[in-house]
Symmetry: C2
């Protein structure tokens, strides 16, 4: 099957008032998403930020764990962090997948709001074989409306037991990647 990539998007995202911002990087987000990507056999993880100092910060984290002291200290982390690339925009991530896989990826946006036409998680799996996939996860208060408007596919939000819907991007990415790429419960020996 064509590979699936994740993008951890720091711009354009919204703050809690709905204003479009560039969010600051969180070190643990990179680790958690890289380890998820490695565990679920994903093609790679893009860290998307247009801010040059933040790109530099992300590259320092990645190189610490891939070629620096961290690579020797925790070899398991190295094989996860090797999946991470730093890019300026979502379009750069799309172009990079196209350069690697020869086809433009289908872009899927995830978020906490229910939007018209959103795709059920189980149905997304059926669409997967068609093309490489790029899953977008928004930091701060989520992806900006323009990202949802431009995406090829929008996922249904993760619903809990009531209307509360405020998971961290780390938790949401873990749950969605497991639902979209993990072995379905009915087929699991475990």
């Amino acid at each position: 099957m064509p590979p699936v990539y994740a993008a951890l998007v720091h711009h354009p995202v919204v703050d809690r008032t709905g204003r479009v911002i560039a969010a600051a990087l969180t070190n643990l987000d990179l680790h958690d998403l890289a380890r998820l990507a490695r565990t679920y056999g994903m093609g790679g993880v893009y860290v998307v930020t247009p801010l040059e100092d933040q790109q530099e910060f992300a590259r320092r984290i990645v190189s610490h764990w891939t070629t620096g002291p961290g690579a020797e200290h925790i070899p398991d982390r190295r094989t996860a962090m090797q999946l991470v690339q730093v890019v300026g925009t979502i379009a750069d991530a799309v172009a990079d997948v196209e350069a690697r896989d020869g086809r433009r990826p289908r872009v899927t946006a995830s978020g906490a709001r229910a939007l018209p036409g959103a795709v059920r998680h189980a149905d997304w799996r059926d669409l997967r074989p068609a093309a490489p996939q790029l899953l977008l996860f928004g930091t701060a208060w989520g992806l900006a409306p323009e990202v949802f408007a431009a995406a090829d596919c929008v996922l249904q939000p993760i619903a809990g037991t009531d209307a509360y819907n405020h998971l961290s991007v780390r938790s949401a990415a873990a749950i969605l990647i497991d639902r979209l790429l993990g072995v379905p419960a009915s087929d699991r020996a475990y």
Copy 2:
């Protein structure tokens, strides 16, 4: 159904050499687990650490978000962080559940290793109605062997596409809570 609680265990856990340690608190772990617990309708989250300065640190984080400046700044975080309690030992968490719910909880340990007799995630759901439940998540390199030995139930590890099995405790908790407490895929409208 009786409530399900989570415990984020900082002792006894092992370091990467297998030595039993008390791990340091990670601020984001508390937030992520509290938000997961709130989303999935759990009874509460116990932060387990015997170190008094770490207990004090955890209580400062919780009170910042429940009664301090954070409560007003992000009200959604308040209702999640109100679920968090700080205790010294796993036994204290068990005793607290028993005091609240009138019955000793069944204790379930989670980890990255496959252990004999481990329970499938789908099967755990069937056992749930019997009693209150306490799910243990280990920080650092996971729960110490003595915790698995004393638990009423040990879960199968989360398996990915190959032998790589190094998720963060944040990711593992998100995936397991979704699998154990979320609406099964077959019943989801989303």
